[in-house]
Every structure is written in structure tokens, then in C-alpha cells.
Symmetry: C2
Subunit: 113 residues, 2 copies
């Protein structure tokens, strides 16, 4: 039993990060604090609803800090917390794999099956 011992921790991790957007959001927060609208521009494909939900979930999980500036209209900044920094290894390994995957698939299906 090498990796086997770590079994359900993988489930734990995937339950928290398994969504379609969370790791992506985190990857953009690596740059430093970002406003809601900045994140929307960074990730055009996400709906505003999901961005809100995921940010809220990660805030509750303690990975993201939300700061509201009482301007008008409202301004809100999101940033990674110290706990959120624990996600860095995870968000780094994903694009590495993802890029390799895209290249490989480009080689696999040059024209059509």
C-alpha cells in the first residue's frame, strides 16, 4: 500500500475543489487582490452567479478574504488568505497537466477520426 493509505483525503480535496471554476478563480487570485469585476473579465465564461457562489464558498472555507469598500457603487476585493496559500501547489500542477493534455490531444486528432 503506497498511495492507498491516503484514500479519502483525495475525496475531501475533490469535494472542495472539484467544481469547474474554483481552482481557476484561485489561480487568478495568485496575482494579488482582485475585484469582482476583474475576476469576471479574467474568466469570461463564468456566470456571475457561479463566481459569487464559489467565492462565497471559498470564503467560508477560509481560503479567500472578502473586503467591502463602502464606496458608491460598492467595491469589493477578494484575496487569498494564508490558508488559501495552501492551494498553490494544487493550482500549479493543474495547468501543467492541462497544457500537456491539450498538446497531446492536438497531436492525437490533427484533422479527424
Amino acid at each position: 500500500m503506497k498511495s492507498s493509505a491516503t484514500g479519502c483525503s483525495v475525496e475531501e480535496a475533490m469535494r472542495l475543489l472539484g467544481g469547474r471554476w474554483r481552482l481557476l478563480i484561485v489561480s487568478y487570485l495568485l496575482d494579488g487582490p482582485k475585484r469582482f469585476s476583474e475576476l469576471r473579465r479574467d474568466i469570461p465564461a463564468i456566470s456571475q452567479r457561479m463566481l459569487t457562489l464559489d467565492l462565497r464558498a471559498m470564503e467560508e472555507a477560509g481560503f479567500v478574504k472578502r473586503t467591502v469598500f463602502p464606496t458608491v457603487p460598492a467595491t469589493v476585493e477578494y484575496e487569498l488568505t494564508a490558508d488559501g496559500a495552501r492551494l498553490v501547489p494544487v493550482v500549479e500542477v493543474m495547468p501543467t497537466f492541462g497544457l500537456w493534455l491539450k498538446e497531446r490531444d492536438a497531436r492525437r486528432e490533427p484533422t479527424s477520426p
Copy 2:
């Protein structure tokens, strides 16, 4: 723009690995070839249906090789391919994070909310 450039690769990766079980399955295949029934024992919570579906998907993705031995009753072995080995960094980072997460949450909610 540091990490921003890698954007949609994260989506690619999550689309392939985002399910609840795939990374877990891979983590058990790290030990070497495994039979279908072995995997079921390793991951009691998975339904036989999902194990089949996920294995099939990863086979099609080229990460897993399926070998049928014409015994009776049938014997089938699954093992990681060379491409599947690319998943190793991913499946390693997950339990690391997952374990830390469980410990932290144990500290967070020692008794009850």
C-alpha cells in the same frame, strides 16, 4: 499576468479529472495493475456503475489500459499507461492538501458549531 496565462488549461484538466472518483482510482492504480474487483474493494463507496464509467473514460483518454484475460469467469486488469503517468503529480498533490484540510477542520470544529 503570472498564472493568468494558463487560464483555460485548468478548465481542461478539471473537466477530465473533476469527477468524484477518477483521481482516487488513479491513485490506486499507482500500485500497479489491478483487477476490477480489487478496485471495488479499494474504494468501497464507489458504485460499480461509476467505476466502469470512469475506467472507460480514462481508457478512452489514453490514461488507462484495459486487459481482458479470457478465463471463465472473465478477468480484467487495469493499469496506468505512460500517458497516465502524467497524472502522478496531480494525484500526489491532492492527498497532501486533503490531509492538511482534514486536520485543519478538526481544529476548527473540535466539538460542534
